[in-house]
């Protein structure tokens, strides 16, 4: 590994391209931790938002009116306000209010995760709900006549179909979520953008770090898009869509 690091130092000495994130051990750990924070934020928020989406879609199909209305307004509120405002609301509004209750355990990272998950979750509820509704009643009736229980019908028939229908929209949303994690910068979550800004103010290598950042996000989002498209293709219902 040392050879690689030395090569980057040589690169700096000869060309002036100052990639401290490779040859300087301190910056290397800093950038790596920022990168992992972005990955961690993305993965946790993706999982949580999918869970929120499934639960919300379930509630929207319940026969009680009040929970349905609550979920409806949750969706409207989170779909139609800027995520930056939501982030500020959670961190400066709720976070400050609940400080006495939660103590210092709930950090800005936690608030970023909560806020971003609810943001993406609001879209996911809609996506899953419309996916479930697109499964025809006759299919449910057919399942019932074959002796499937309500739970079995959902797990074995409705969900697999609804998931395939929802997947393209879900992918759009998740890709969007990964890009939105940059906003956590605004509440000082040490993710990739934040760490990079620390590095470039210490090392004064703004242009180089900017390019590193741009390429890093391009690769990160590119990988996600690629995986999701492969998955979409793999499980798509033949002769459907497109």
């Amino acid at each position: 590994m040392q050879v690689v690091w030395d090569w980057f130092r040589w690169l700096y000495d000869t060309t002036g391209i100052n990639l401290t994130i490779f040859y300087d051990a301190f910056d290397r750990t800093r950038f790596a931790s920022g990168f992992w924070m972005t990955v961690k934020l993305s993965v946790i928020c993706i999982l949580l938002s999918v869970v929120i989406g499934i639960i919300g879609a379930g509630i929207q199909r319940s026969r009680y009116r009040i929970p349905r209305t609550v979920v409806y307004w949750y969706i409207q509120a989170f779909r139609n306000t800027p995520p930056l405002v939501q982030l500020y609301f959670f961190y400066f509004g709720l976070g400050a209010l609940l400080k006495g209750v939660t103590g210092p355990m709930v950090t800005n990272v936690t608030w970023a995760i909560i806020s971003l998950s609810f943001f993406a979750g609001a879209f996911n509820v809609e996506i899953f709900r419309s996916g479930i509704e697109a499964v025809p009643r006759t299919t449910l009736e057919a399942a019932e006549s074959l002796g499937f229980s309500r739970l079995q019908t959902y797990l074995r028939i409705v969900f697999p179909l609804a998931f395939r229908i929802s997947l393209p929209a879900l992918n759009n949303n998740l890709v969007n979520l990964v890009k939105t994690t940059t906003l956590a910068y605004a509440i000082a979550v040490p993710e990739m953008l934040y760490v990079s800004s620390q590095i470039w103010s210490d090392e004064l290598n703004v242009p180089v770090m900017m390019n590193v950042l741009l390429v890093a996000y391009f690769v990160l989002v590119g990988i996600l898009v690629w995986i999701m498209h492969r998955w979409e293709k793999a499980i798509r219902v033949p002769g459907f869509g497109v």
Binding site: N80, L84, E133, A134, L193, L213, V221, P238
Partner: protein, 286 residues
Amino acid sequence: MKRESVLPVLLPDASRLVQTALRERRDGWRVRLRASHGGALLAVFVTGCAIAQAQVQAGNPSILETIWKWTPLLARGFVFNLAISFMAMGIGSIAGLFLGYAQISLLSPVRKTSWFVTHFFRNAPWLVLLFYCMFLIPFEVTLFGTKIPIPDWTKATLGLALPVMANVSEILRGAVQSIPTTQWEAASSLAFNRRQTMWMIILPQCIKRMLPPWMNLYAILTMSTVLASIVGVNEMMTLTQRALSAENRPGLLLSFYSYVLLWFFVYCYPIARWTVHLEARYAVKQ
């Protein structure tokens, strides 16, 4: 070969969902604003004002007076947001049309390069592009011996124009692709060459298809101009923060921020409605 449906159990609804998702992937997420959203926002604003009013100490001006006092300053900030959005949209659209046209070129290198550029800027988060322009463009350039200063907001405009460019490029490519192949075939049977087909048959039909997603993109862009507050441009959000710290009174937060949101809602709502209207009008009957 057209694939036969193996699983003819799904309703047309399901097919439409997938198609909507694929369209949104190309044109960007759809801004869906309803009048009830404005009502809810107004309710939040009124609640915020009521809470703040209850906390006003004797001798201090009422909350509405305070908001009224700051309104001219905030309005100036809002004009700035609009100026940024207009210019970013203009620059981004023109650049995007060229890039999109390159994406449907017959020359493979041109097509591949422009595809890469488009997706590069589409995959990069807006905030990162904004930072990129804010820090990399110098604060002044020397042109023929005269120093031309580049103010912060110009850089922010360019930073926002980049993602707009990539999105417009993709919208154009999508629109051209959505024109049925029969149109091309009919044109070539009438001895139109490629350029003539493009300019006289395909592109005129594309304009109608591009208009709704283009306006939608504008609504998204307008809402994104507040991102410029993070990099310190004196737009509405920054000025709100300044006003709040100048007032230094508890409880103003909710009323002020909901006030700002209301301004944006009032501006974006007609655009969103009009987009929906145009889309319905231009919808191709199948």
